[in-house]
């Protein structure tokens, strides 16, 4: 795995100056039930951080807290030196892009029209699109390789193509952080591989990506893996450190086997 500095051509100093997105002793309760407690997690520039854990453990909740869509019960999310709530919603939208799992999509807009909506944080309510907006639109469509069907309506695309369009929408804001909720859900193996490859490319652009995943194997090429269990951060480290037999077995049960395939941990179901 090459480091960001080697393959991006970005000045490491620039990256160091970017505001960091971090959760500090974050807790969240819903109807007096603790969903998350005491989470400390930092998303760095140009890294891909995968968030793993069993169903209902609060992965999506943590993602929404980091995106500023939910308010923490205690603790805080910080962007730069400032609490996330103190950023204006437009500024927050410029820095952090969020892609929900079942966001729905407009059936009567074209690919280009949908991706252009990603510029909303820069335009506000009254702004008119200018040169920078058109450039960001083209860039986002290129990154996700949707330029060739820019004039088609969304329902005419395949699931994988549509998901790339939604990613382009998120990228159009030229965010520094990208928060994705199960982006490879409902995609076949080919499209999963394609999507993961795309994420790898984004690292090179200095974009910090936090992805909720439920399949540990998809997290193998991530820079770091955060493992949530019972509302707590059970492990945080490289995939090799986190995806180990004792941890996965304690969470998912005795049938889980971790083997080494091509030098990386692979999670299988044993008998």
């Amino acid at each position: 795995m090459k480091s960001v500095e080697q393959c991006s051509g970005l000045n490491p100093m620039d990256l160091a100056l970017r505001p960091r997105l971090s959760a500090l002793s974050l807790s969240f309760s819903y109807r007096n039930r603790a969903v998350l407690s005491d989470i400390n997690l930092e998303l760095r520039s140009g890294e891909w951080l995968a968030l793993l854990g069993p169903n209902g453990v609060g992965k999506s909740t943590l993602l929404r807290l980091m995106a500023g869509l939910l308010k923490p019960s205690t603790g805080q999310v910080r962007l730069g030196g400032e609490r996330l709530e103190r950023w204006s919603s437009w500024m927050r939208g410029q820095k952090i892009a969020f892609l929900p799992q079942n966001g729905g999509y407009p059936e009567d807009l074209t690919v280009e029209e949908v991706v252009a909506l990603g510029r909303t944080p820069h335009l506000g309510l009254l702004g008119r699109a200018g040169k920078a907006d058109w450039e960001a639109l083209e860039w986002a469509m290129q990154q996700t390789q949707v330029t060739e069907f820019r004039h088609r309506l969304l329902p005419t695309l395949s699931g994988g193509e549509r998901q790339r369009v939604m990613l382009a929408r998120a990228l159009a804001a030229r965010p520094q952080y990208l928060l994705l909720d199960e982006p490879t859900n409902h995609l076949d193996l080919h499209h999963q591989a394609e999507f993961i490859c795309l994420l790898t490319g984004l690292r090179a652009q200095g974009i910090g990506t936090l992805t909720v995943l439920h399949d540990p194997n998809l997290a193998r090429s991530a820079d770091r893996v955060a493992f949530l269990s019972a509302g707590k951060l059970a492990a945080l480290g490289t995939p090799r450190e986190v995806l180990n037999q004792p941890l996965l077995q304690s969470v998912y049960g005795g049938w889980v086997r971790v083997h080494e395939v091509e030098g990386e941990p692979a999670v299988l179901l044993g008998g």
Partner: protein, 356 residues
Amino acid sequence: MQKTSHPTLFAPLARAGKANSAVRQGLVFLGLLVLLAVGLTLGVGQGAVQIPLLEVIRSVLGLQENPIITDLRLPRVLAALLVGAALGLSGAAFQGLFRNPLADPYLMGSAAGAAFGVTLAVSLAGGLTGAFAQNAVFDFLPVSATLFGFLGAVGAVFVVLLLSGGASRTNDLILAGVVVGSVLVSLTSYLMLQDADRVRAVFAYTLGNLAFISWKGVGSLALYLLLTLPVFLLLGRTLNALNLGEETARSLGLPLGQLKLLIIGAATLLTATAVAQVGIIGFVGLVAPHALRRLIGGDYRYLLPASALGGAVLLVFADLLARTLIAPAELPVGILTTLLGGPFFLYLLWRGRRKG
């Protein structure tokens, strides 16, 4: 990914997955303007008394005295234009806001509220016995009926907003709208049962009628349309973003709570004025945005003004038909729009399904 917006209705359609060219959108707007001009000219000339085109033009320009044109036809045709535009505009806005192609301007209880307000006005004005010999029910409605209709419509929407805890949850809004609407309809029916004349007065009102609009009514319709039109034109992009889902719209920085209240407020002012002035006219606010979405696509920056024009065209022609079909008698225009709009809407659904 789930399809949350406009299931099956709009999917592939006549546009066959292609973009809407600017040329096509321009042609649609041009066509609507031409239709509107034709409708207005015919509308002023035709009716119980036929007036030749030249005379129409001369009276509109003030070169000739013709009270039928200046006191009756002109305000009526303009009211049809303004009410149609108001309904088309608020229908399109509600369809975008609720992400539901079946949303119509009366969804949040404004029609039931207006009917209740008018009934209350009639009740408070006392008995109307013997006032209904002719086909001129509206002459006997108290002057305050319009005001009560407006207050009823605004009040109903306000109660819906209170019950649903603001505008945060769309489903709660729709449910509260249904509940408040039903309660108001029951209350209205109870008041109407007090005497038969009241039944007739309110019934005539709820059928929608453009016959008794005054220049003053046209003035207030125009005022509210002018006040709210800029709001709608500015909110086109917001409605587009809402199509991505509320959570995504919020992540894009949109202050969703306030924006929803703004959209609901503007649409309510428009529908309340329209309903108060001319009664409940069905299907215009549902069909106009629906049909135009097929022609020019789902971008609300264009769909909103197009729906205003389309609603105006629909109602101007519907009123023309209502006056000429069984001339010299007249049909209530609300009956006509529902009779024509219902089958047309079914046709749109059927075509969408066949192609989908």
